[in-house]
Every structure is written in structure tokens, then in C-alpha cells.
């Protein structure tokens, strides 16, 4: 039930954002500062989600080899930076993760 309410909330707000200028505000100019700030939203929010996924286990930093996610993540980031290829990034990241998981299981 909470799940549905959550989806509904996100959906309604997202729709309101999409309709904002087209249907309600018309051709009003967006303030310049807001325009600048909005461009930084995805660039800030995604790393804020990614980095804790890679470097934290529980609530503590884990840079050891027992945590394969940060190694796979860094290699994937290098692939993304050099190739700009989304699929290749995902494939390399998953391959490294699986490889390290298999290695760790053997040790």
C-alpha cells in the first residue's frame, strides 16, 4: 500500500512538473538562477546515490578486496569515461563483479 502511495506521489508531482510551463505558466521566463541550478541536479544526485553503493558496506567504508563493488564500479567509470558506451559500461562492470565474486569464493 505504501508502495502504491509512493508511486502515485512521485507520478503526480512528476506530471505537475511536466505540465508546469506547457499548461499553466505558459511562456513565462524561468529565473536564470533556477535554470543554472537545475542543470546540476542529475550531476549531483546520481553520484550521491552511486558512491555509497560502491564504498560502503553496512555503514562503514570498505576499500578491501572483500568488497568487489568499488573495484567493478571504478573500472566501469573508466569505461564510461573513455567510450561513452552505456551497454559496454554495464557489461564490463558486471563481468568484473562476477569475476571477483568467483575469485573471492575460491579463496
Amino acid at each position: 500500500m505504501t508502495l502504491w502511495l509512493m508511486f502515485l506521489c512521485i507520478g503526480v508531482i512528476t506530471y505537475a512538473i511536466r505540465l508546469s510551463f506547457i499548461g499553466l505558466l505558459g511562456t513565462k521566463e524561468m529565473p536564470a538562477f533556477l535554470l543554472k541550478a537545475l542543470r546540476f541536479v542529475p550531476i549531483a544526485v546520481l553520484p550521491a546515490i552511486i558512491l555509497p553503493q560502491l564504498f560502503l558496506r553496512g555503514n562503514t567504508l570498505d576499500f578491501s578486496l572483500a568488497n568487489p563493488r568499488w573495484i567493478a564500479g571504478i573500472l566501469a567509470a573508466i569505461v564510461a569515461w573513455r567510450t561513452r558506451n552505456v551497454l559496454l559500461t554495464i557489461v564490463v562492470g558486471m563481468a568484473v563483479l562476477w569475476g571477483l565474486q568467483v575469485l573471492l569464493a575460491r579463496i
Partner: protein
């Protein structure tokens, strides 16, 4: 009539290459949503209700991390704020349409549909080549270009619904040991790293990431929001400092 139809189909045609990139995302969303324990119907309903890939990804990721509902809603909506930019940019072209059409097109407004539609709107009207260019500027929207928007948006919508449904069906059978949940952070990496071009953008991303790691102990998972806002502030600050430095240099010349 034919003009409407040709606009509709050229919208579909122009979004086809982009769909090649969208299909894997749709599949991954479906699989990841199931591995996060979201029921199949709810996962598909989100594709209908929200219809925004990155926000859906973030929501699934945060649900599996056990993030409080309010923070998930806030983060997903923050991420979708960029649609206000698209809405503002398309508004001049759509202002003469009846409200019900505006409402329909707003529902179909995504990154991909925006990208092809705004390019199409900025091209001179092909059907109106006998009209003086000045007249075209005075009367934008001469050709029924909103049919192009509708074609592109509807095509993307259909493929997204179909792709996420297939992903959800596949996802039910994937064992947890495959760690397919890791495709979500990898997808984010693939999206964000190529987008970082200026120093201000790197500063925003780096600050947000580091603060998110440091602030993980904050109550209610507030660290994510704090990190995002700090990152944005860092980016804006560096950008304004660099602009000022250039302005000073220009002044010296």
C-alpha cells in the same frame, strides 16, 4: 490531414534509433524492480504512473536500500525537476493547443521525446517553404508539429511499457546471487560520467558523492538530499567564480 499523419510518422521514425538505447534500460528496470522485491503489478504500474526512467531506477535502488518513503519521493522528484526545463522550452510552441492536448503531451514529455521534438520545432517548416521566413517566425506551429511530438512520445511510451513488462517477467526467475541489482549503479555511472565536462560539473559530482558517503550516518537517510544540495552548491559556486574570473580578464584587455 496528410500533414498530420506525416508529422506523426516522422516523429516515430526519428525516435527509433533512440529506442535502441532505451530497450536495455527498460529490461534492466524490470529485472531490478523484481530483485528489489517490488511486486510485478506495482513495478509495471510505476512505468504507467511515473513514466520516467531515471526516477524509476532511483526509486527501485532506494527501496532496496531501505530508504524512508519521504526521502525516496523527494529524491525522485528532485531528479525529475529537469522536466521543468523541457516544459519551459516547449511551451511557446504548444501555447495555442487546447488544454486537453497540452495535458496529453505533458504526460509524454521525457528526455528522449524532448530531444527529438525540440530539434524538429527549431527546423523551418518543410510544408511552408513558400511562406516567407519572417512569416514562419511570426506564426510558429504552422505545420501541426505537435503530431510529431505525439508520435515520438507515444512510440517511446509503448516501447517503455513493453520493455519494462518483459524485464519484470524475466526478473522473476533471476537468482539473487547474480547480483543484478548492481546494474542500477552501473547504469547511473554510464549516464553521469560522460555528462561531466566542465570543472564545475566535476566539482558538483565529486562533492555530492563524497558528502553522501560521509553523511551516511545522518538520520532518515537525509545524507542523500544533503549531498545533492551540497554538490549543486559546489558546482554553482565554482561556475560563478570562473565566470567572474573571465569577466575580470576581459576587463583588463
Amino acid at each position: 490531414m496528410t500533414s498530420k499523419r506525416s508529422e506523426f510518422f516522422s516523429g516515430i521514425k526519428d525516435i527509433l534509433p533512440i529506442l535502441l538505447g532505451v530497450v536495455p534500460f527498460a529490461l534492466i528496470y524490470g529485472v531490478a524492480a523484481r530483485s528489489a522485491g517490488i511486486p510485478a503489478i506495482a513495478a509495471q504500474a510505476m512505468s504507467f504512473i511515473v513514466f520516467a526512467g531515471s526516477a524509476q531506477f532511483v526509486t527501485v535502488q532506494l527501496i532496496s536500500a531501505g530508504t524512508p518513503v519521504a526521502i525516496i519521493i523527494l529524491t525522485a522528484c528532485l531528479l525529475n525537476l529537469r522536466h521543468a526545463l523541457y516544459s519551459a522550452s516547449l511551451a511557446p510552441y504548444l501555447k495555442r493547443l487546447p488544454l486537453r492536448l497540452q495535458m496529453l503531451l505533458a504526460y509524454l514529455l521525457t528526455d528522449e521525446a524532448y530531444a527529438v521534438t525540440i530539434t524538429h520545432y527549431r527546423q523551418p517548416d518543410v510544408g511552408a517553404r513558400f511562406i516567407a521566413p519572417e512569416a514562419q517566425i511570426i506564426a510558429p506551429g504552422h505545420a501541426p508539429k505537435h503530431w510529431y511530438f505525439f508520435g515520438a512520445g507515444l512510440m517511446l511510451w509503448s516501447i517503455w511499457q513493453l520493455g519494462t513488462a518483459i524485464g519484470i517477467l524475466l526478473g522473476a526467475n533471476v537468482p539473487a546471487s547474480w547480483s543484478l541489482d548492481f546494474t542500477l549503479p552501473l547504469t547511473f555511472i554510464a549516464l553521469v560520467v560522460p555528462a561531466l565536462k566542465t570543472r564545475a560539473e566535476w566539482a558538483a559530482a565529486g562533492t555530492a558523492g563524497v558528502v553522501a558517503v560521509l553523511a551516511v550516518g545522518l538520520p532518515l537517510n537525509l545524507g542523500l538530499i544533503v549531498a545533492t544540495l551540497t554538490g549543486m552548491a559546489a558546482g554553482l559556486l565554482l561556475e560563478s567564480l570562473e565566470t567572474k574570473r573571465w569577466a575580470v580578464k576581459d576587463g583588463e584587455d
